[in-house]
Symmetry: C2
Amino acid sequence: MTNSPVSDTRTAVPSLTPLLSLVEADMVRVNATIRERMDSKVPLIPQLAGHLIASGGKRMRPMMTIAGAMMTGAPPDQRAPAILLSTAVEFIHSATLLHDDVIDESALRRGQDTANALWGNDAAVLVGDFLFARAFELMVESGDIRVLGRLSAASAQITEGEIRQMGITGQPDTAVDEYLDVIAGKTAVLFAAAAAAGAEISGGSPELVAAMHDYGMQLGMAFQIMDDALDYTADADAMGKNAGDDFADQKITLPTILAWQDGDEDERAFWQRTLGDADFTDGDLATAQTLLARHDAIDRAILRAQAFAESACNAIAPFTADPQTGALASALAEAARFAALRTS
Amino acid sequence: MTNSPVSDTRTAVPSLTPLLSLVEADMVRVNATIRERMDSKVPLIPQLAGHLIASGGKRMRPMMTIAGAMMTGAPPDQRAPAILLSTAVEFIHSATLLHDDVIDESALRRGQDTANALWGNDAAVLVGDFLFARAFELMVESGDIRVLGRLSAASAQITEGEIRQMGITGQPDTAVDEYLDVIAGKTAVLFAAAAAAGAEISGGSPELVAAMHDYGMQLGMAFQIMDDALDYTADADAMGKNAGDDFADQKITLPTILAWQDGDEDERAFWQRTLGDADFTDGDLATAQTLLARHDAIDRAILRAQAFAESACNAIAPFTADPQTGALASALAEAARFAALRTS
């Protein structure tokens, strides 16, 4: 990697490294704040929350807030409110993960036992509620009611997205647009609000705030489509979850929608029996993968993700020429392209 | 009742009626706002939330916010922010009820099937999350970051209280002080924050805000102790839940703690087998009721609730002499005494 002569050229394989380097110092502060603010006099809370939060995750959402703040040119000592917001964003995301795992009855996340598997659904629901409330305390502390508005609206939209996802679960004939609406709500709005809030609380111009919102939205769409596409290809090591989890959960995602649309009568009967009626037998996942390959459904989904990634790049393109913001804007563009790379 | 010649004297049986009359016009506005703001483009949300919220409930918490606002003397046309906050308080409370019913696996609340029984745990968790997020949107709209701070801190404390309640579940030797701490968190802090927030957002003096906070706290304690005590005496018609629900759920409440403390070896073995080990047989609830009666545990718990109710009265006593606030303060005092009346 370090010996690669093309690693700095525009045609190199996109990497997350430039963005990670730029936000690294602030993310150290965010991680310290996460540990500090998940604490409670009730020991179960830091235990359970720590298990989830310390288990890794890419911290993409809090990174959006930091990037938004840094894009304004605010110096590090004026980014304390953004650090609090960034922590709040990770807590909101963690709360939704805890509740998702309860709802999906998941036993494995990021390669580890889920909190609900270890501590029970009751504790996972309540600690999720705690993290959500604590997120709002952090936002209040950050002192800007505009960002509270952004993030509370995003939180409501996330749950609307999750409920709509429940609604399309087991419906293999779901339309692409409906799927896109669902993932916009359950995933992309938080990326968007996180990025915009970081810029807004750090005194960014309305143009920058709007650009970061748009960037986050498009990146979030790319991110979720890739997550859904790779569920049929990745192994547990790479994804931290098992390939085919979505299939077993009857989740309707872009690859299955495309395969349904192009499928003949027999293929649709297969999708209806499995995704529709949860009547699974051995070998069904392999059959699903065969059908997805027959219609190029994974690759076509990834192309769609790449189109969203390009839209994300376009959203911040006006800032790449500015000497103040150019390096970070270019790193954000590269991160968006990285998010839509096929990784298995 | 209408013929009773003593109904207006100080020694009459306390009633909620005077308070209800004074807040009635605002509560009509609150109820309209509740219906309006639980709406969503996702039909399941108003269906499920409406089932819970329309099923009644005493609306005690939002009433606290309205009373706090009215105590400031703010005229009706300046109480719009308090109406929003009051709605937010009911949504926070409703969210905790939805999640509680999931956790307790309750099938009946207020005499009706629970939301989780009708729509499933998944939907109840997510709609609870939605109401919580929507509550914060309403608070943002109310425009005062101080009340956001109060209500977000209260929300975090509620979940801490609920988690601590999980921790003492099945522990019949729990200390009274620990029980009081638990109910302060899970119940009283929301009454306190609701009452204080109503006064604060309507321009109340620091003294009034503090008094309403204290009033709400003490009233909330009385309210929860009574709820716990009556669980062993009420029938489903009066309580909207079944007598002995707490017993079956291994919940440790003030009556059981008092009976444990005064119990002999055989009695403690009974509480350990039932509340401790969930090894129930027919007739156990009747035995529990007999043991509670032997030690006067229900009546002693009610006396404790009455002491909290008197503390609530004391908290607002300075305002009963003021011609501007006297009628409402007296009605609040009477409501506190009503909350600690034995009703079965």
